[in-house]
């Protein structure tokens, strides 16, 4: 699905990613872990096309094509979805207006007729029900005044509406209590199929109790310093990030 080769990324002249290599195939769920400031969220942002970041080296192939050529909206239309760590509040834009615009732009890209208000409503109702979201939610402004849990649930709800192929969750567990974490995880798990690929970015192992990864990568100082299966997350939880820093230091010295 996605193939990242020696990716180097800077922001305002500072190199954040210093050569990332990662291959995610359809049906796989990869977790990216790492301490704060290691470059996890930068990777998520670059994949989604956030404009402030400058790619200084390497490449990203998505479905065999150069992803870096595409602006953010085109990436979304091609099936990339980023659940934001900090979903943005947009006063005055209702969820209904936002989602209907998004869905209809996706449909247009696929040469499908736009959904009218009625069709859109029936489409959206089921998915809201699955996420335990009230219908009145549609009239609220996007993320405005939402609790942390509501914001994250809204992200997962948008994911189910947009039906992407490559899903990136950026610290979706941060700011969630255990009940919200369960709902969000269930939303993700129900969405897993053999065709979809996932990249889950998280600081803590906790989320991976609910969303079980096929692979775990640890990122530190802009590089993936260790990869393994789900047991790596547990090992990391036990030994702490100091262990990784030591590993990384040894790797650089050797």
């Amino acid at each position: 699905m996605i193939s990242i080769k020696d990716l180097k990324v800077s922001i305002e002249g500072k190199e954040i990613l210093k050569g990332i290599n990662l291959e995610v195939n359809p049906g796989e769920l990869h977790a990216i872990m790492g301490p704060n400031g290691s470059g996890k969220s930068t990777l998520a942002s670059v994949l989604a096309g956030r404009p402030e970041y400058e790619v200084t080296g390497g490449e990203i192939l998505y479905k065999g094509k150069d992803l870096l050529e595409l602006p953010a909206d085109q990436r979304a239309k091609q099936g990339i979805f980023l659940a934001f760590q900090y979903p943005v509040e947009i006063p005055g834009v209702s969820i209904a207006n936002f989602m209907r615009s998004a869905i209809n732009e996706l449909r247009k890209a696929k040469n499908l007729e736009p959904l009218d208000a009625m069709d859109f409503l029936s489409e959206i109702k089921d998915k809201m029900k699955n996420m335990g979201i009230d219908l009145e939610f549609l009239n609220r402004a996007v993320n405005e005044g939402f609790s942390g849990g509501e914001k994250k649930r809204n992200e997962i709800f948008q994911m189910t509406m947009m039906d992407p192929d490559m899903i990136i969750l950026d610290e979706t567990d941060s700011g969630l209590d255990i009940d919200a974490l369960k709902i969000v995880s269930e939303g993700v798990n129900n969405f897993r199929t053999d065709e979809k690929a996932f990249l889950i970015i998280t600081h803590y192992q906790r989320l991976l109790n609910y969303i079980v990864p096929d692979y775990v990568h640890v990122i530190y100082d802009g590089r993936i310093v260790k990869s393994g299966d789900k047991s790596l997350a547990l090992e990391l939880e036990e030994k702490g990030y100091e262990w990784i820093k030591k590993l990384s230091k040894e790797a650089v010295e050797n």
Partner: protein
């Protein structure tokens, strides 16, 4: 030097072509003579005038003009209306009331809608002392000019205990035949006690020359009355509008104004409210959007004279291309006006590096037991929100339009007339997509 000479040309023309028939009854000849003298000595405002610091008329008054005559009343394209429901439609062509083009079929009994020359003596005696009472012809050159040249002002008189259900829609149409025309519509609105009325002003123009309208209104809001006033200033032709509205509020009444300025080469709005008696409320909302090299200037004044009044003001600007917006809002709370609540806010969005906004919120408080606040913010499009929308597949153009519509709708949503609000939203959507 050339510019100066031409300014003098138009000024001179307006002075020399001034005439008033002293014998006609309702012509306010002495007021008008005084007004032309005042204009003659003041001249057109320049940037040196504090109130016109950011708005230059020099390129406008540089042009040769014809003073609008009554004979130009012919017809106009009325195909597109911003209201779905039938209204009381009052058409003004180049400032002159066009009764044949108007529709007063829904006029309730008892209310007067006519020009000064056609109202009866009884009504004239009721309004005689009111005309010109709210305007300042000594210092305000544009108002003096209007007062001098408005040969037959229009009266809306609403007697006590009258609720006017249909909207009173003033359609100000400017027409020219390949020449520049300057016109002087003038309105006097008086509402009695316990009345309710909704006023709408819209503007249009025809012809290849410049249309320059100088519109002045005076509005007396009676005790315990409600006046909702909408102005929709959108003229795709490059016209120029000076629009002064002077309102005085009696006790326990409410006046609300919603001014949406969308298109036009140059618009200057003066909106002056005097809360003359106790217990009244004022709401002023404005949305101004400029592009190309256009210029919109909003000056508002809310004068709290007596206690226990509330005023609430919000103006929002979207400034694009090389255009300029001006907001100058003043709240005055006089010594007597205890227990005043007065709020004012101006929020602007600049869409380019070459767009300019000049904003000046002013508060002058002479009473000690009041709640007042004012503030102005100017920002750009929220790039975080832009990225968020684009990450959901929304194209940059649509994302921008969505954010701007959301910004603008805070004002548009205050409009309580459904069909008007809906039409404005459609036009706003089209405007922002370009």
């Amino acid at each position: 030097m050339v510019a100066l000479e031409t300014i003098t040309d138009l000024q001179e023309k307006l002075v020399t072509e001034f005439h008033v028939d002293k014998n006609a009854r309702a012509n306010f000849s002495s007021l008008r003579e005084k007004a032309i003298k005042s204009f003659s000595s003041l001249g057109f405002p320049t940037l040196r005038n504090e109130d016109w610091k950011y708005t230059s008329l020099s390129s406008i008054i540089n042009l040769p003009y014809e003073i609008a005559g009554v004979e130009q009343i012919e017809k106009f394209d009325s195909s597109s209306s911003i209201l779905k429901e039938r209204s009381i439609e009052l058409v003004f062509i180049n400032g002159h009331f066009a009764s044949k083009l108007s529709d007063t079929g829904l006029k309730p009994d008892g209310i007067v809608l006519d020009t000064f020359s056609r109202i009866n003596d009884e009504v004239f005696s009721l309004i005689k002392s009111k005309y010109g009472a709210l305007t300042n012809i000594d210092d305000n050159a544009m108002v003096a000019l209007n007062t001098a040249h408005a040969s037959d002002p229009f009266l809306v008189y609403i007697p006590d205990n009258t609720m006017v259900e249909p909207i009173i829609h003033f359609k100000f149409i400017s027409q020219n035949k390949d020449s520049n025309v300057i016109s002087f519509p003038r309105i006097l609105i008086i509402t009695g006690k316990n009345t309710e009325v909704k006023l709408l002003e819209s503007f249009g123009s025809e012809g290849s020359g410049m249309n320059f309208s100088n519109l002045v209104s005076e509005i007396f809001v009676g005790e315990n009355s409600r006046v909702e006033h909408f102005k929709f200033q959108s003229d795709p032709n490059e016209s120029v509008l000076f629009n002064e509205t002077n309102v005085v509020q009696s006790a326990s009444c409410k006046y609300s104004n919603n001014t949406i300025s969308m298109q036009g080469k140059l618009i200057r709005n003066n909106l002056n409210i005097v809360l003359q008696e106790e217990g009244s409320e004022t709401e002023l909302f404005g949305l101004f959007m400029t592009k190309d090299r256009n210029h919109i200037d909003n000056h508002t004044l809310v004068d709290h004279v007596k206690p226990n009044c509330v005023s609430n003001e919000l103006y929002k600007g979207i400034i694009n291309d090389r255009s300029t917006g001006v907001f100058n809002g003043k709240i005055m709370v006089r010594q007597d006006a205890q227990k005043t609540n007065a709020f004012q806010s101006n929020k602007n969005m600049l869409l380019t590096d070459t767009a300019t906004i000049n904003t000046k919120p002013q508060l002058e408080i002479f009473a000690d037991d009041v709640k007042c606040s004012h503030g102005a913010t100017t920002g750009q499009l929220d790039m975080e929100a832009m990225f968020y929308l684009q990450s959901r597949g929304i194209s940059p153009g649509n994302a921008k339009a969505m954010l701007l519509e959301a910004f603008a709708n805070e004002i548009v949503d205050k409009i309580k007339i459904d069909s008007l609000r809906d039409s404005i939203k459609v036009m706003l959507g089209d405007y922002l997509k370009v």
